[in-house]
């Protein structure tokens, strides 16, 4: 990809409302270093500091900057829908799962999760591709079944 088209694509994603919403999805995190004066982020505690060991759910946009190759301010876990037991269900038959209930940005958020280089990352990636392909094959286009709202188009 040329320099200019790469930066055009990056700015297209930067301004994308859908991408902003998908990066708002939360994942379980654990504090690894004390974070002073931001204790208010943990609603269950009165402490002014976020202490190491504290577990809380943070949106991807925040978790991603606190947990990376260079920084280990928090550690992250895969959210429920991307873990081993759900992946097994998907392997069996993804059409029985209400993907919309798992989160409106199942695929977008799932792709973002891959940037954490989690040991199960490649399994998650394969799972996403498999679910997507099977849903596409079954439904003809990427729609998800939602109990309450009928057919809902997918991001």
């Amino acid at each position: 990809m040329s320099q200019s088209s790469a930066s055009a694509k990056a700015s297209e994603e930067y301004f994308s409302l859908g991408d902003i919403l998908s990066t708002q999805e939360k994942l379980p995190c654990k504090v690894e270093m004390p974070i002073h004066r931001l204790g208010y982020l943990d609603l269950s505690s009165d402490d002014d500091t976020l202490r190491p060991g504290t577990k809380l759910e943070l949106p991807f946009w925040l978790a991603g900057s606190l947990c990376s190759r260079r920084r280990h301010i928090v550690s992250v876990e895969l959210p429920r829908a991307y873990r081993e037991n759900y992946r097994q269900v998907f392997k069996a038959d993804p059409n029985v799962v209400d993907l919309h209930k798992l989160g409106p940005y199942f695929y977008g958020f799932g792709s973002h999760l891959l940037s954490f280089n989690h040991p199960q990352a490649s399994d998650v990636a394969n799972s996403l591709v498999r679910v997507g392909t099977l849903c596409l094959r079954h439904d003809g286009y990427l729609m998800s079944r939602s109990v309450t709202s009928g057919w809902v188009p997918y991001v």
């Binding site: 930067y14 301004f15 409302l17 902003i20 708002q24 002073h36 004066r37 949106p59 925040l62 900057s65």
Partner: protein, 197 residues
């Protein structure tokens, strides 16, 4: 949670992408900017303290910095999405925005629309063989030059390019140049009759 108000702006805009543009949320933007100012001041304070020798503040600074960037991204995306929407409206409504649409724009957006309008007009004037080409006329490739239309409401007299005067009475049918009546079709006054053969 941090950047909540900013996210609300994004959600608001995301909801009306297909439909009409909502009113400009000046209050929402002001609140986001206030949050950004508070975060920035706290970070300035912590940075000075770190320079002075205090340890352990890096994680807080990093967190607040990320929140600042997130707020910025949300606001920029909100503004950008609105501008895209406004630009599209030039192609739908023409060079004059309906009053109820204009009401929802902030002053800078109106100015932006006017600039866009002017640039588009200059460009259209410069292309085509004689005197320019109106690109906003045929949004879909036209299948024929003349079309059959039915009048849906009384619209009075209408003068065609040839100088003929026709009376647009409700339910009357006419055979007109597509280019002449396209805007009336868009407004709902005429209805294009498609032959079902």
């Amino acid at each position: 949670m941090l950047a909540e108000k900013a996210l609300e702006l994004v959600r608001q805009q995301h909801r009306c992408i297909e439909g009409a543009l909502g009113p400009f949320n000046e209050d929402g933007i002001r609140q986001v900017l206030e949050e950004m100012r508070a975060l920035f001041e706290q970070n300035q304070r912590d940075t000075s303290a770190t320079v002075a020798g205090e340890a352990g503040l890096f994680s807080s600074i990093q967190l607040r910095h990320t929140a600042l960037e997130r707020n910025k991204r949300c606001v920029l995306a909100y503004l950008n999405s609105r501008l895209e929407h406004i630009g599209q409206m030039r192609w739908e409504f023409g060079s004059v925005l309906p009053a109820d649409v204009k009401y929802n724009l902030c002053e800078e957006e109106v100015q932006w629309f006017n600039n866009y309008n002017r640039m588009l007009a200059n460009y259209m004037r410069a292309i085509g063989d004689t005197g320019g080409l109106d690109l906003t006329q045929d949004m879909k490739p036209p299948k024929s030059l003349y079309i059959e239309v039915r009048c849906k409401v009384d619209h009075g007299e209408f003068e065609t390019q040839d100088g003929d005067i026709i009376v647009l009475k409700k339910n009357s049918q006419h055979f007109l140049l597509r280019s002449e009546c396209e805007h009336l079709i868009r407004q709902g006054i005429l209805e294009h009759i498609v032959n079902r053969m």
